[in-house]
Symmetry: C2
Subunit: 229 residues, 2 copies
């Protein structure tokens, strides 16, 4: 993708050439492994795939969140781009529907990204900033679709998160045994969003509880799955 640019935020000291090469090898490997196994993949498995030692892994990315940040911030750009494209559609409802389909397709194509869309990682700054940008654009997209009357009025931006959670459930459960199952589920969802509403909905959980939920989920994936009684 972007071969010229380094990782954006000031590399106080440029890495030595071999270090930079390994860094990119690690990111490429993580892209592959996370796409296949989701964010629960181990750091060690990424190192193995990259052909570098475990220590190199941890020296460059001391926490998994930093690796996730480096790997998915540009995929989050693509996500934000999808909103922009949708906003350019002359038919707001078409744009809205196309956006949901595109976003869910991205989830289906990359298990790691499916996880990213339903979790939040406060320390992954680049990632979270892009997520917020995408969110702002998304709110405009929703308002536009509501204004035309095709999108039900009680739709809430946080409903998109719920859709992503539901879609992640389908994608995770079906995997490559039924790789297109999500399309049917998403199609049902979209039809339920079209105005006129066929009935009232239970109240939206609201932003803040959903944020807490995404935080909680993220911590589960980043930390070993151990429990204490």
């Amino acid at each position: 993708m972007n071969s010229g640019a380094q990782h954006p935020d000031g590399p106080a000291q440029p890495l030595r050439s071999d270090a930079e090469r390994n860094r990119e090898r690690i990111i490429a490997a993580a892209r592959t492994v996370f796409a296949r196994d989701g964010l629960s993949a181990s750091m060690a498995s990424v190192a193995r795939e990259a052909g570098v030692g475990i220590a190199t892994m941890f020296r460059r990315f001391p926490t998994k969140e930093e690796l996730v940040d480096a790997v998915f911030s540009d995929r989050m750009d693509a996500y934000a781009d999808a909103v922009t494209v949708a906003l350019e559609d002359p038919d707001p409802w078409n744009g809205f529907v196309g956006y949901i389909e595109a976003a869910c397709a991205m989830q289906a194509a990359d298990s790691g990204f499916a996880d990213v869309l339903t979790m939040t990682f406060p320390t992954a700054k680049a990632l979270e900033q892009r997520r917020n940008e995408a969110y702002q654009a998304m709110v405009r997209l929703i308002d536009r679709a509501k204004a035309t009357g095709r999108l039900r009025q009680d739709f809430d931006p946080s409903d998109l998160v719920l859709i992503h959670m539901a879609n992640a459930g389908v994608v995770n459960a079906t995997g490559d045994a039924a790789p297109d199952a999500w399309r049917r589920v998403v199609a049902l969802f979209i039809q339920s969003l079209e105005a006129p509403a066929r009935g009232p909905l239970p109240a939206s959980p609201g932003h803040e509880p959903l944020y807490k939920a995404m935080l909680r989920a993220g911590q589960g994936t980043t930390t070993p799955p151990g429990k204490s009684s």
Copy 2:
């Protein structure tokens, strides 16, 4: 619940009294732990909760599937009962809707059961038999609802599995941070199922691929999460 009945299928030799006591302690503990942590909870954590040794655990339930079978076959009865109740509703659509809500509520109330509904365990005979009974009744419920014209004609029994997968995604992701979020998602789903359909749907994945998917998911939970490169 049922205090009189033993585990149904012929206990060739009745267990010694202390063994039987431990067996029930284990099942009770598993009910608690699975409900809290889902089926990914470890056998060891169940043993700890039950206050028995690890060996006792494995002697009574050599595989996790046997434990799952013992714990959830009666919950699957309740699931099947919900279909029966729904079939008695004079309004088939009401019955259908009520059934989906009840089933999803059971998922929300018990993480373990949420997993059970989206996975299959071929060796868990009691569980799978009850699942099939429920499935047969469910097909009748669907046909009845379609006959009245309130349920869209292209609804497929396997769509219920997809709904459960989606709901499991929401329930897992939100947990107790947004414990009612699933209600909104399910309400949207139901509204999309009401006739007249607002548009065609992508083809159903069909029974067999979905079964494969459920199998795959089950194995992931039963076996350690290790991977090979």
